[in-house]
């Protein structure tokens, strides 16, 4: 496929050059002391962020503001929430509602990991273009590297990639993050640490002891500690704002607690052969591909059958979640302790999943050594991943994009903002 090839080419080209691939900024860098580091601990749960295994996150929270009611945007998946963080707009405007969607042009379900999938401007491209500030992306997963394309001034292509989890281990990602700081000192760095998510997905003890997950938490915290220590040692701490959050939470299911909708829809006389399903772990996106005049009846039938399926929590109109046209006709969420496995019952064997409402709560901490950071505050505000972009933009004095922000600048975390210009 042309899209798949172009994506592979992009990854291959970058990874083939060097672990850290720097591109010459197209505009001159503006003089500013402010540095903002947005670090995503992929898949981290709020209770883990407050628990014993993430002392660095707890320390950052104590030195900054933590948002006790923070949530991911739906669908609680990796790509849409990273896009939300950097764009500050709903999926209906960014074009990225889920990890996986049905692509009618290709006639297949695919990940939204192409630069052309992201339709909205992001901080990674707006800061260089509008304020002349350098940005960098250090993302441990290839589809994240793909969807943000060449937007950042400096981009790290994740490697080495682990063969099963398909991500770069945190120890390498953190080294790349430190290197890009040392080499280019960007005003904004956007990083994703994938270990907690990837080892959580695979943790067969996730419903009880979470052995793999716990090991990942301990190691990821050590990597965060490296970052803080490096910023302190290099004299950057006092000019730094560090935002640590996750893109979604994680929920575990037992092997037989799976929902297979394809088997039910395909035997229905009205629906047979004319429904496509993009499975997103805890959410299924349903697409009617039959005659347009049958769409209302087909949608009603899909809703009816889905709601009658054990393990299904709810069926939602994508428009009500501001997901946009490529999210399909219906979104089906599973209950906690369940997962979708479509199109086949063996399609999704992994115990850890997210995407359903149970996995929307996230940790969100705004901290750092910058004197504008408010210390020791816990906020009840209903913060979302959407709020990262307007918050960072506010710090740098960057205005809203055309059409405005959908997120909210979390100015309660600061005194005397903006501080960047």
């Amino acid at each position: 496929m042309s899209t798949a090839i172009s994506r592979r080419t992009l990854l291959g080209g970058a990874a083939g050059a060097a672990a850290l691939t720097a591109f010459a900024p197209s505009v001159a860098m503006a003089a500013t002391d402010l540095r903002v580091y947005v670090v995503v601990v992929d898949g981290c749960r709020p209770d883990e962020a407050a628990g014993a295994y993430l002392p660095t996150v707890r320390s950052l929270a104590a030195q900054g503001t933590s948002f006790a009611a923070a949530r991911a945007v739906s669908i609680a998946e990796t790509i849409p929430n990273h896009v939300a963080m950097m764009s500050g707009v709903h999926p209906a405007r960014s074009g990225v509602p889920a990890n996986s969607v049905w692509d009618p042009m290709l006639g297949e379900v695919r990940d939204l990991g192409l630069p052309t999938d992201l339709l909205a401007p992001t901080l990674l491209d707006r800061l260089p273009a509008e304020l002349g500030l350098a940005t960098a992306s250090v993302l441990s997963k290839d589809y994240l590297f793909g969807v943000f394309g060449e937007r950042a001034s400096h981009r790290w292509a994740p490697e080495p990639m682990l063969p099963i989890t398909d991500h770069a281990p945190d120890v390498f990602t953190m080294q790349a993050l430190i290197d890009v700081i040392d080499d280019h000192d960007p005003a904004l760095v956007f990083a994703n640490l994938g270990d907690v998510d990837r080892f959580g997905h695979a943790d067969l003890t996730g419903s009880s002891l979470r052995l793999l997950r716990t090991l990942a938490l301990i190691d990821t915290d050590a990597q965060l500690s490296r970052l803080v220590g490096h910023l302190r040692r290099t004299g950057r701490w006092d000019s730094s704002v560090v935002i640590v959050l996750s893109d979604h939470s994680m929920d575990w299911s037992l092997p037989l607690s799976l929902v297979n909708l394809a088997g039910r829809l395909d035997v229905d006389p009205l629906l047979a052969g004319n429904v496509r399903i993009a499975q997103n772990g805890g959410a299924d996106l349903l697409y009617w591909v039959g005659p347009a005049d049958q769409r209302p009846a087909a949608t009603d039938r899909m809703r009816q059958l889905a709601l009658a399926t054990p393990g299904v929590l709810s069926v939602v109109d994508p428009a009500s979640l501001q997901l946009g046209a490529n999210a399909g006709d219906l979104v089906v969420f599973c209950k906690a302790g369940w997962r979708f496995s479509d199109p086949d019952v063996i399609s999704n064997p992994i115990p850890g999943n997210h995407g359903h409402p149970a996995t929307e709560p996230i940790p969100l901490v705004i901290s750092g050594g910058h004197p504008a950071v408010r210390r020791g505050l816990v906020s009840s505000a209903p913060a979302r991943t959407l709020d990262v972009a307007p918050t960072v933009a506010h710090l740098f004095g960057l205005g809203a994009p055309a059409g405005g922000w959908d997120g909210v600048a979390r100015t309660e975390a600061f005194t005397g903002v903006p501080v960047g210009n």
Binding site: P46, D47, A49, A50, A68, A69, R71, S208, S249, L313, K335, A336, G337, H356, P357, A358, T359, E360, P361, P363, L377, V378, S379, S380, A381, P382, E412
Partner: protein, 541 residues
């Protein structure tokens, strides 16, 4: 003059609850500002109260005795117009609103005024007057604006105040603290029984009729500590069973015998009417379950766990898990579930009259089992308490599962009923806990006076109970605190970081002047859904 400080619009924002044609024009009689009247004045013998704070409103309450024969429950006396006013200073130099409300024997001369147009998170003072007699001045406070960032709330939490069992010194303690936004009363505000103990009930017999319930409410409202509490802080109340009869359910009660006590529906209607007349609660169509918002920090859902519930079954009855049996009723359960899932507030507080955390009891000697049965309302047997949520497991599972399925954090059940102190994690599957997650927490306040374990057994406090408390915690891994002997009041502090409950215990409930001292403190940190012991009580700053 007070007349110069309010306008007609502010006056007209107020309506008299449950009274027809409450109108006030700018010609309203001005309340004397140099009043020397006090709570002891016969016209206002039952004090003043406020309740159910909103960001822009508050419910004011009093009762007048316009003529000596217009005693509570008498059904006689004239219809009169009572003037109310509310101000931002206790000297009423700046009156925010004023009005006049009609009352008479049809509502036992009680007065309820739902004032609107007030400022959020503001302390107000209010008073009433009738024909030159002026009530004592009450203080109250509105709730923060719905979208306000709130750093702290403090509530008193009480339940189970059986007047013959002792004095209401716990109410006095809460009134004296001076740092509370409101007091939550979680039920058993009055008791229906007759007889006496430390002080006798009036009327002396078990109450059955509307006149009986009115007189009983009136007696409680003459208690000096209760009056002081109501005059100091808004109260947010719900009922449990004793506001009607012991172990009430939708169609009856353990303490109601139709053969000798008549139709239960008539008794319940009488009890509810008297409650609505005498309590500062805001109701819609006789529905008492309701929700109050306190900025972004907290939302409080007050439940009615008596009016819609199915009849209790025995502790080993298979009906315990029957999905056709309910403790909340389908409509209230849907209201509660959607409210918790869709709440825009961080902390979801639930005013819950009976315990929701599962409770398994260890095997006990017969006397101890009987004492515990009397206290917690079991009908028989040692294993579960079917008067609590344990007796309605389908409703509980549905509610707790909804919290888990929708990623609802920071739900805290605030509970009364069982005359003892508890702090618990609330797992869906207690049998596997802690291998299964907790989805909420629960703090149970003890009784203001109502007897508990040591008194029922007739043993000194902190003796026999210690063994049982240890057994309960060993058998129930989610229960972190259990204290079966003490009486008093609790103080709840809500901040974005944590919700903490302090239990304050009475030295001697038979002594009206008894002191209260700090007993224990537990808190739940945000996002944890677990309770933990805390050494230091909430300060009074």
């Amino acid at each position: 003059m007070a007349d110069q400080t309010y306008d007609r619009r502010s006056v007209l924002r107020a309506t008299g609850a449950a009274t027809a044609g409450v109108v006030l024009a700018t010609t309203a009689t001005t309340v004397a500002t140099t009043s020397t009247a006090s709570a002891a004045a016969p016209v206002f013998a039952h004090g003043v109260a406020s309740g159910d704070p909103l960001p822009d409103g508050i419910l004011l309450w009093t009762r007048v005795t316009p003529t000596p024969d217009a005693t509570p429950g008498s059904g006689v006396g004239p219809t009169v117009n009572v003037v109310w006013e509310i101000a931002t200073t206790p000297d009423f130099a700046r009156v925010r609103a004023r009005g006049r409300v009609s009352t008479g024997p049809d509502r036992d001369h009680t007065v309820k005024v739902d004032v609107t147009g007030l400022l959020p998170a503001t302390t107000y003072y209010y008073r009433f007057s009738l024909d030159g007699a002026v009530s004592s001045v009450g203080a109250t406070r509105t709730a923060p604006a719905a979208d306000a960032a709130v750093s702290r709330l403090r509530f008193g939490v009480v339940s189970c105040s059986n007047l013959p069992d002792g004095f209401f010194a716990a109410y006095r303690y809460l009134a004296e603290r001076g740092d509370l936004d409101a007091v939550l009363h979680l039920g058993d505000y009055i008791y229906e029984g007759g007889g006496g103990g430390v002080r006798p009930h009036e009327p002396a017999h078990e109450i059955l009729t509307l006149a009986d319930y009115r007189q009983r409410h009136a007696q409680y409202k003459t208690d000096e500590h209760l009056q002081r509490l109501h005059a100091t802080v808004p109260v947010i109340a719900t009922w449990d069973d004793h506001e009607v009869a012991d172990n009430a359910w939708s169609g009856g009660a353990a303490n109601h015998q139709p053969d000798t006590e008549g139709d239960y529906a008539a008794r319940k209607a009488a009890a509810h009417q008297a409650y609505f007349e005498w309590m500062p609660v805001r109701t819609e169509a006789d529905r008492i379950y309701r929700r109050l918002r306190f900025g972004l920090l907290a939302e409080l859902s007050m439940l009615d766990l008596r009016s819609y519930r199915s009849e209790q079954v025995g502790p080993l009855d298979p009906g315990l898990g029957d999905p056709s049996r309910t403790i909340v009723g389908a409509e209230q359960l849907a209201w509660l579930e959607s409210g918790l899932v869709g709440s825009g507030a961080q902390w979801k507080l639930v005013g819950n009259s009976v315990m929701i955390a599962p409770l398994q009891l260890p095997p006990l000697p017969a006397a101890q089992e009987a004492a515990l049965t009397e206290m917690v309302g079991q009908t028989e047997g040692p294993s579960v308490n079917p008067d609590q949520w344990d007796g309605y497991q389908s409703d509980r599972r549905r509610l707790l599962t909804a919290l888990k399925d929708n990623g609802v954090r920071d739900t805290v059940f605030l509970t009364g009923d069982i005359h003892s102190s508890w702090a618990s994690d609330v797992p869906i599957n207690a049998g596997l806990y802690p291998l299964t997650p907790s989805v909420a927490t629960e703090f149970v306040c003890t009784s203001v006076t109502s007897d508990n374990f040591d008194e029922i057994l007739g043993v000194p406090p902190r003796t026999t109970s210690l063994v049982l408390e240890a057994g309960i915690q060993a058998l129930n891994r989610h229960i972190k605190y259990c204290e079966l002997d003490s009486h008093g009041a609790s103080v709840l502090e809500v901040t974005p970081d944590a919700v903490q409950m302090d239990w304050y215990y009475l030295a001697n409930k038979a002594d009206a002047a008894s002191a209260l001292t700090h007993g224990r403190s537990f808190r739940t940190r945000t996002g944890t859904q677990k309770v933990q012991s805390v050494g230091t009580p909430i300060g009074t700053t």
